[in-house]
């Protein structure tokens, strides 16, 4: 328990009077990929946005390396080491690729090392170096997703949160995306991944949680869940 990087306990979130999450608990251990899966509207994005401070929980606790994040502003949480690539990527479309990356290293911890971090990002994403002076909005969908992830890694986060990275991408680019996730994992980055592409997500995940209409329905290792007949029936039948 003491070793957990992220620990979410009994989290409740509501939009106005409408409940979205009802007592969800989950955890992410350092160095792992954890997948959070479930149908549309199950509350996955809500959970991620609450972790990074964009939404305020009604009850429950969120701890990063033992420190509570509840009541903290998103910018404070970002500085504590969580990098969140939101649904829709959250790129600054009018700004150049380079400027987006520089802003990824905005926080005081990373800013003095911007140059070094930039070089590191370019080795991982050579495409972005070619396009450094282009506006982010002019990139292709796949490139935009790469940029969003690269920007998030610029702060050397202790936890990288990815919300639907494969959304709207062609199958080939989705493959690249997942191999990139594994590369990052290989470099020791801890990842919390939300995906609708459940099969792929469970394949790369060390551990996974299944959300169903705002509550936790199941959890287990990625391999276990892939083999689970109920999961196969409920979520993968349509996809495979």
């Amino acid at each position: 328990m003491a070793n957990r990087l992220l620990e979410v306990s009994d989290l409740e979130v509501a939009y106005g009077d409408v409940g979205a999450l009802w007592g969800v608990s989950l955890h992410v251990d350092p160095g792992t990929i954890v997948a959070l899966v479930g149908a549309n509207g199950a509350g996955k994005t809500t959970l991620l946005r609450t972790v990074s401070g964009l939404l305020k929980p009604k009850a429950g606790d969120i701890r990063l390396s033992g420190q509570s994040l509840v009541g903290k502003q998103p910018q404070e949480i970002a500085r504590l080491g969580i990098a969140h690539v939101p649904e829709g990527r959250g790129l600054f479309r009018q700004m150049t690729v380079l400027e987006n990356l520089e802003l990824g290293a905005f926080q005081p911890k990373a800013r003095p090392r911007t140059k070094e971090l930039l070089e590191k990002a370019y080795t991982l994403f050579p495409r972005l170096k070619e396009r450094a002076q282009q506006k982010a909005g002019s990139l292709s969908g796949g490139e935009q997703q790469m940029l969003a992830i690269a920007r998030a890694t610029m702060s050397e986060p202790s936890l990288l949160i990815l919300d639907e990275p494969s959304l709207g991408l062609s199958p080939l680019v989705v493959q690249q995306m997942f191999s990139l996730i594994q590369t990052l994992h290989g470099q020791g980055v801890t990842i919390l991944l939300v995906e609708q592409n459940i099969h792929q997500a469970l394949k790369v995940a060390d551990y996974a949680f299944v959300l169903k209409t705002g509550s936790l329905a199941m959890q287990g290792t990625g391999a276990d869940l892939i083999a689970d007949p109920e999961i196969q029936k409920a979520y993968m039948g349509v996809l495979e």
Binding site: L54, A78, P86, F92, Q107, G141
Partner: protein, 297 residues
């Protein structure tokens, strides 16, 4: 057939229009910054400009400080005042979802500043008359007012500095990022209050610079600010809300429109036509006349 006036008259009109319009432009740049991060129409901007003009006048008649030299005082003071205005008046409201609240605080501030000026300096029209107020210079073969040309230079320099700040410094880039997507900016560790306060500080210091330009060129009174705010809004819409270069260009364009309407139609219709153009642009080219669309992915 329409009889076109001789070219030197046209040139004179264009020059006067552009020089005057630059002042709307610099006011619009300030509005653009504040609107960018806070989504607030800062209606008190014009009143702040007039306040700065009175301040410049007091420095001149009270302490004998040359109006253009007083830029060195007014601009830094503007930075501090802008910062304080944000922290004292808007910080709390910025966190509210209801943006009427900030709009109304801006309106309240406008009332307050206008009427404080009336109480302190009286409601009559005031001006600053220096040894060079009436002097002219030769520009593009046309004689024009020295102070107006200086006002134009101030507008250009002010806008230029703001653009340098926004493009070359990481904090400036953070301001641009926050203008585009505040949520995404906070995920980068950018504090909304910090960028809002910076936008306000720069906006009000630009109002200070514009105040110098106004004080040296126009007679003014405490209530002249509101029209200035409206004109700045028009300039902003012409240039594209959130586009700083466009805001200056929009101001110059508005100045040109006004000069031509005044000459060819009548002074009485200037405002209606300016606002008509404003409505048409809002409806048919809301991104402004000067935005370069980039290829969509």
């Amino acid at each position: 057939m329409v009889n076109l006036p001789p070219p030197e008259i046209l040139l004179q009109l264009s020059l006067n229009g552009a020089l005057g319009g630059a002042m709307y432009g610099v006011a619009a740049v300030g509005l653009s910054l504040i609107f960018g991060t806070m989504r607030l129409i800062f209606l008190a901007q014009g009143a702040m400009i007039i306040l700065a003009a009175y301040f410049v006048r007091a420095l001149f008649y009270g302490l004998g400080i040359d109006p253009f030299l007083s830029l060195l005082i007014v601009v830094p003071v503007g930075l501090v005042v802008g910062w304080l205005i944000y922290q004292g008046l808007f910080r709390k409201a910025a966190a509210e979802e209801d943006r009427n609240v900030s709009l109304l605080i801006a309106v309240g501030l406008m009332f307050l500043v206008q009427n404080l000026m009336t109480v302190i300096w009286g409601g009559n029209t005031a001006g600053v008359v220096t040894s060079y107020t009436a002097s002219g210079i030769e520009l593009l073969g046309v004689r024009t007012s020295f102070t107006r040309s200086m006002g134009f230079l101030i507008a250009l320099a002010g806008t230029g500095l703001v653009i340098l700040f926004l493009r070359k410094t990481i904090v400036g880039k953070a301001v641009r990022a926050a203008s585009e997507d505040m949520d995404a900016a906070t995920l980068m560790g950018i504090s909304p209050h910090r960028v809002n306060a910076i936008a306000f500080a720069i906006g009000i210091s630009l109002a200070g610079a514009a105040g110098v330009a106004v004080a040296t060129t126009f007679p003014f009174n405490p209530f002249a600010g509101f029209i200035f705010s409206l004109k700045a809004l028009v300039a902003l819409a012409l240039g594209g809300i959130g586009n700083v270069t466009g805001a200056l260009a929009g101001g110059i364009l508005l100045g040109l429109i006004e000069a031509y309407v005044q000459f060819f139609i009548s002074g009485g219709w200037t405002n209606a036509i300016a606002y008509g153009v404003f409505l048409l642009v809002l409806m048919f080219k809301p991104e402004g006349l000067f935005s370069r669309p980039y290829k969509k992915a």
